[in-house]
Symmetry: C2
Subunit: 185 residues, 2 copies
């Protein structure tokens, strides 16, 4: 089905354009006109795939989540001990390399939008719940696993925004993760 593949590729190209705009200039820059220009397609083509801005944002969020989860899964697989796996997972959630630095501002933009738009909050909650369950599983079989997962997830979320704003540097963020892991593992 070559035609279907083409549609999917074009939708992804539009989603990539949304992410680049949101990641460099914020969600305010994500307009029909800007996205069309950035993606190199016509405004009519953008409208063909996405009836509203929120539809476009939701698809872009799904694309970025998929990539984020792939990066995290890749970071974890090569690690042997529970602690090194958990550490790799947490560090992969932080903006410490080019991919993370490009995605970070997009995630913050989605987060800010989710706080005022219920239709954006729903997929964020879902992906957050999946990640928390994964974290709890990695923390292992202690009665506090679920609570430790909540704390670790909030910790990396907070470190992510502080890194992106330049409030802390990478070394401080990594030291914070290690210090917390000393307690959990």
């Amino acid at each position: 089905m070559p035609k279907q593949v083409d549609h999917e590729a074009r939708k992804r190209r539009i989603a990539d354009a949304v992410c680049r705009l949101a990641g460099t200039r914020g969600l305010e820059a994500v307009s029909l006109r800007h996205v069309a220009t950035e993606a190199g397609v016509s405004m009519g083509q953008v409208q063909h795939y996405f009836a509203t801005k929120d539809e476009m944002l939701l698809f872009a969020f799904a694309v970025i989540s998929e990539r984020y989860e792939q990066r995290i899964a890749a970071a974890v697989t090569s690690k042997r001990t529970p602690r090194t796996r958990l550490r790799a997972l947490l560090l992969a959630m932080l903006p410490l390399d080019d991919a993370g630095l490009a995605e970070g501002p997009v995630l913050l933009a989605f987060l800010a939008r989710a706080a005022v738009a219920a239709e954006i909050a729903a997929p964020l909650r879902e992906s957050g719940a999946g990640m928390r369950a994964f974290l709890a599983e990695m923390v292992g079989s202690t009665p506090d696993a679920e609570r430790e997962a909540v704390i670790l997830q909030a910790l990396v979320d907070g470190l992510l925004s502080q890194l992106l704003v330049g409030h802390i540097d990478a070394r401080t963020a990594i030291a914070a993760v290690d210090h917390q892991l000393d307690r959990v593992c």
Copy 2:
């Protein structure tokens, strides 16, 4: 100086309008026209006080920060032990009452903007550094005070966004804070 007081009051009224718009509809809704309507002033008056949108956002951020710090200071003063004071401080940073719930989305909007606009990041870093120093002081005289403060600050930042998105409830957030305090205090 009645005239000066009047100017200050009008600037604050505009800043309040910016916060209400950002807190209910996001920064995308913060346009010259919308702010003027929301504040009940003319577009010319908004432009008289603020030459650019970022100037308006910076002033609104200063107003909201001042309020936030006053709320936190008030929450802390009545507490007797170091732990109850630290706990009151951390909980006051979370969106657990009407004031916090109204401010939270505005803070997230500023945060998202700060990740792509250096002029907004600077005051956020400054206010974050002040809060971290205050936290470290409250943690007390341990060699890890600074690191514990980084972790606690990131924890509440992460819990704040998870609460606003509806990923966790208030009870879970408070339990996470208490669990972490058991380790720090």
